[in-house]
């Protein structure tokens, strides 16, 4: 691997001398049941080359047929990005030879995207809002996946042979392209991350993509160029490919800004090229040279008829759009009465939806937050899964909280009950019964335990009798220990004082 970490300028110095211009191409894999142009399942992680039809393999004689659901998903994305929707648009062929592309051309939209001229507002952590203009969102098909074997690096260089899996070939993609983003200044890396996060959130909220970056459902190519302060004309850009986490987007943009600045500051010129991001070294290396004259010999796909939309169809889809994520967040925070900090933590923990469902099931907002930000998040962290994936349902929380509110269990016992439920031992009530976790409410049993505790610590008992009420805690502790935590601490305290004849 060429690790030539080029000289870079400090970010601060880069910002003193240059203004960054950003541009993003985000590929969103749609979660349609079948592929863009065939009836093969669109599924991740299956045995290689099983989700294929003759169409996906590009066998002689096959023809594509457009997936209507994919078109509807694309229109929804366009609408969510405030784009215009084309009344009529066409697919084109992008011709190039590569073994992951079964036909040796990609069927993609070229001069007629389904959606164009949109914009979205991106809110940064401190509340600053940037408007990002959307140039276009167009439909295309994904390529297959190559695995290079026999080399040390897993790359094509040095590999003995390569394997190709066409399961992904033909999976529907929407490519969202921004117009150049000018004026972000030092907030550029942060804006980059926030933009990709917003796109991911939008497509997830629309339900048109699984939106999992680690699976490649959302893939970002980040374009960066610099221009000297005060200059109008854009500098030469580089395109950093497949930056596949939000953090990497921020880091890659920051790195490229610093690298460009060093080159330009040293009197050099930027080569227009693709760059590869390396998470390990947090740097980019040169890919292939890219010029605007790359010749893909585009021409209209003759095997497909144009996609024609009409107002009735578009308005029907518009009426099906869910509430935009930003508006929804504002509404929920107000409804729940969370502070800005509390709400931000909830969002960052990824439990907003779960809390909403839990509240809808009848739990108070504060209580719902206590569960999801507390015990559930803690367990999720231990299990290394998302909180929502633990299998905790709103109904379960309702039942657990009900047991606490009725005094049958206490907070501490509720954790054990949750463990039991998650271990598959049954409902909370069943776990309470089976594990014998109910709070001991029989005074007789408690008094027995109290007598034992007093006898074990006669000096403490004397102190209490002498009026040192804060010493009661030690006896309470002994009782809780004897009852394995199943006593109501308040009741125990009251009984101890009565036993010793002390006024509480």
């Amino acid at each position: 691997m060429s690790t030539a970490t080029a000289d870079i300028l400090s970010f601060e110095e880069a910002m003193e001398k240059f203004d960054p211009v950003l541009g993003f191409e985000v590929h969103v894999e749609l979660n349609t049941r079948t592929k863009m142009f065939s009836s093969a399942p669109n599924a991740f992680g299956d045995t290689p080359n099983t989700n294929v039809t003759p169409v996906d393999l590009g066998l002689p004689g096959v023809l594509p047929v457009i997936n209507r659901v994919a078109v509807e998903s694309s229109i929804k994305i366009g609408l969510a990005l405030n784009c215009k929707i084309a009344e009529r648009c066409h697919f084109a062929r992008k011709n190039y030879f590569y073994p992951d592309t079964p036909k040796n051309f990609q069927t993609s939209q070229y001069d007629e995207p389904i959606a164009y001229d949109g914009s979205i507002d991106i809110e940064l952590a401190d509340g600053t809002v940037f408007t990002v203009e959307i140039e276009r969102a167009h439909m295309e098909e994904d390529a297959g996946k190559l695995t290079h074997m026999g080399g040390a690096t897993g790359r094509i260089q040095g590999a003995e042979f390569s394997l190709v899996d066409y399961n992904r070939a033909g999976v529907p993609l929407v490519e969202i392209v921004t117009k150049p983003i000018v004026g972000a200044g030092e907030r550029a890396p942060e804006l980059a991350k926030a933009y990709v996060a917003a796109i991911r959130e939008i497509v997830k909220n629309l339900g048109v993509s699984d939106a999992r970056m680690e699976r490649g459902n959302v893939r970002c190519d980040a374009n960066v160029s610099l221009k000297p302060k005060g200059q109008e004309k854009f500098g030469t850009r580089t395109e950093t490919k497949n930056v596949n986490s939000l953090r990497a987007v921020e880091h890659a943009v920051r790195y490229e800004i610093q690298r460009h600045a060093a080159v330009l500051d040293g009197g050099g010129t930027i080569t227009q090229e693709t760059r590869h991001w390396h998470e390990d070294t947090r740097s980019t290396t040169a890919g292939r040279p890219k010029s605007d004259a790359d010749d893909y010999r585009y021409f209209p796909e003759p095997d497909l008829v144009p996609v024609v939309t009409d107002d009735a169809w578009i308005e029907k889809l518009r009426s099906e759009l869910p509430e935009p994520p930003a508006a929804r967040r504002k509404r929920l925070q107000a409804d729940w009465g969370y502070s800005d900090a509390e709400f931000r933590d909830v969002v960052n923990a990824g439990v907003m939806d779960s809390i909403e469902e839990t509240i809808a099931a009848g739990v108070k907002p504060a209580t719902a937050r206590k569960w999801w930000m507390g015990e559930i998040s803690r367990r999720a962290k231990v299990a290394d899964v998302e909180p929502a994936e633990l299998g905790v349902t709103p109904a379960l929380i309702v039942e657990l909280q009900g047991l606490i509110d009725s005094g049958r269990i206490n907070d501490k016992l509720s954790r054990e009950v949750l463990d039991g439920v998650l271990a598959g031992e049954g409902t909370p009530t069943e776990v309470v019964a089976q594990r014998g976790l109910e709070v001991v409410s029989d005074d007789g049993a408690l008094l027995e335990a109290i007598d034992g505790a007093l006898a074990a610590q006669p000096d403490v008992a004397d102190k209490i009798r002498g009026g040192k009420l804060q010493a009661v805690g030690a006896i309470v502790g002994g009782v809780m220990k004897a009852t394995r935590g199943q006593a109501d601490a308040g009741r125990v305290r009251q009984l101890i004082l009565e036993r010793l004849g002390v006024e509480g």
């Binding site: 002689p60 004689g61 062929r93 011709n95 036909k103 051309f105 390569s162 190709v164 021409f299 003759p302």
Partner: protein, 499 residues
């Protein structure tokens, strides 16, 4: 007993339905005929003996049980080897697909199977349907049953020759610029290019997607109508497939009558460049039609003169992209060169070895025409010409119900005569190409002989009006057969042994 191979498909179907003849007998008679003459003709690249007989025996069994059968059940058919078939090889006439078996059937093949029509085998063609003589087949040329030293037309020379040589009563062809009609003309058979979208292209190996169309190759107009109704109609696997019903084509062929029919003679498709004998037969046909009550008028289609040039930009452009998939990675030939076999070198060596010269010529032409900086001048201009040709048709069809021209400018030429002169070869399609450029349907019917070789007469109709072709075509066929005292093919010489 009658020679079953001499019957038309309609006649054979009647004998099968009445159980006068069994399907096994019908298929066996054609297999015997293939065995007898195909060494000389080379119409078949693959003969599907066992399966054809099996299907025939199923037909006989079902018919004996009194099951309702498709009218053409048991009538055998040959399929151009550009159309994929499960259980038989499909080569497209190319070395690059030698030995390849398709895992799926073309829609038209599925429809043949649904109708229980036994498939006799796969017929020869110019490689990937690129040619007008079948000399560009990687598996040797097909010879014209009228004269074994002459070409049977192309690209579908195999299907036309098989039908002309009585090896099959019916065949399927594909027509991108005339590959059904021009072979029909030079072999004295009938060939139909349906309206674009009228027959599913799913499973037809693509040359130029916006021009390709599958159609019938037969000895009579009625037979073409019968076959057209089997293969036509909407197919959800082909986005360019029309949703209209296929239409009453057989009825049109049976009610042949040109009385009051306005027939437009295309001024630009006759005269200079057309062989005298061809022009003479064409003029006689017009006279016959006039006498039968047709209203023969002259129409002008001035932009047809640009059709050939525009065609030779659009067709290779689409072909260069359609043929990119033949790279040795997933199917077909793979050539691994000596030294480091990188993917680029394997692809290059495979395509260099697997494609013939004409295919390479068109890939290079098309790649160039689509290149940045040339696209507008070449592909873009050609698409504009296409629009102009469509307008010429629109205007002509306001004056006439059908248009008429010679199908090809000459009769069959000698093998090798034009092989080294691509431009002369391309000129064979000058009269057939406009229909493909505009998506309108066309038919070629036998028009008589010139110097002992068949001449074809072409009718063209507006898109979706294929029935008019059958009405006019069957009428001319009947008028001419009256003058000849029988089918033109009755005059064909007996085919000798191996050449």
């Amino acid at each position: 007993m009658t020679d079953l191979t001499r019957l038309s498909a309609a006649q054979l179907a009647e004998k099968l339905t009445s159980r006068e003849v069994s399907a096994v007998e019908a298929v066996q008679a054609h297999l015997d005929r293939i065995g007898e003459v195909d060494r000389a003709i080379n119409a078949f690249l693959h003969v599907n003996t066992d399966e054809a007989l099996l299907v025939a025996s199923e037909v006989d069994k079902e018919r004996s049980l009194g099951d309702a059968m498709h009218p053409l059940a048991g009538v055998p058919i040959a399929v151009k080897d550009l159309i994929v078939t499960k259980g038989q090889p499909t080569t497209a006439g190319s070395k690059i697909l030698e030995g390849w078996h398709s895992p799926y059937d073309a829609t038209v093949v599925r429809r043949l199977r649904d109708a229980k029509m036994p498939i006799l085998g796969k017929t020869n063609l110019d490689e990937f349907a690129m040619g007008s003589s079948t000399e560009h087949s990687a598996y040797g040329p097909t010879r014209n049953p009228w004269d074994l030293d002459r070409i049977p037309g192309g690209s579908g020379g195999g299907s036309a020759a098989a039908v002309a040589a009585f090896e099959a009563p019916l065949a399927l062809g594909t027509d991108t610029g005339g590959s059904i009609r021009q072979p029909g003309a030079v072999t004295g058979t009938v060939g139909v290019k349906p309206t674009y979208g009228g027959v599913s292209r799913y499973g037809a190996i693509a040359m130029a997607s916006s021009l390709d169309q599958i159609g019938p190759v037969t000895r009579t107009v009625l037979d073409s109508a019968l076959l057209h109704e089997v293969i036509g109609g909407h197919d959800p696997h082909d986005s360019t497939s029309l949703t209209d019903p296929v239409g009453a084509l057989v009825e049109a062929a049976r009610n042949a009558d040109v009385k009051g029919l306005r027939i437009g003679v295309i001024k630009e498709l006759q005269g200079e460049g057309y062989q005298d004998g061809v022009q003479a037969r064409f003029t006689e046909a017009l006279d016959l039609l006039r006498q039968a009550g047709a209203d023969v008028v002259e129409v002008s289609c001035p932009n047809f003169r640009y059709a050939l040039g525009a065609y030779y930009l659009i067709m290779p452009s689409e072909a260069s992209s359609n043929l990119a998939k033949y790279d040795g990675v997933r199917f077909g030939l793979r050539v691994v060169p000596d030294g480091a076999p990188t993917i680029e070198r394997v692809m290059g060596a495979t395509r260099a070895a697997g494609f013939g010269d004409e295919v390479k010529r068109r890939i290079i032409l098309g790649t160039y025409a689509l290149s940045a900086g040339y696209y507008d001048a070449y592909y873009g201009s050609a698409q504009k010409v296409r629009t102009l040709i469509q307008r010429d048709f629109d205007a002509a069809f306001t004056q006439a119900d059908v248009l008429i021209s010679p199908t090809a400018p000459t009769t069959a030429f000698k093998l090798g005569e034009k092989l080294d002169d691509p431009l002369a070869m391309y000129l064979n399609d000058v009269a057939t190409i406009p229909a493909n450029m505009a998506g309108v349907p066309g038919i070629s019917v036998p028009g008589g002989l010139a110097d002992g070789l068949p001449v074809g007469i072409q009718f063209l109709a507006p898109a979706r009006q294929d029935a008019r072709l059958y009405r006019a075509g069957a009428a001319l066929e009947a008028l001419l057969e009256d003058t000849w005292g029988g089918p033109l093919l009755a005059q064909a010489p007996e085919i000798g042994g191996g050449k």
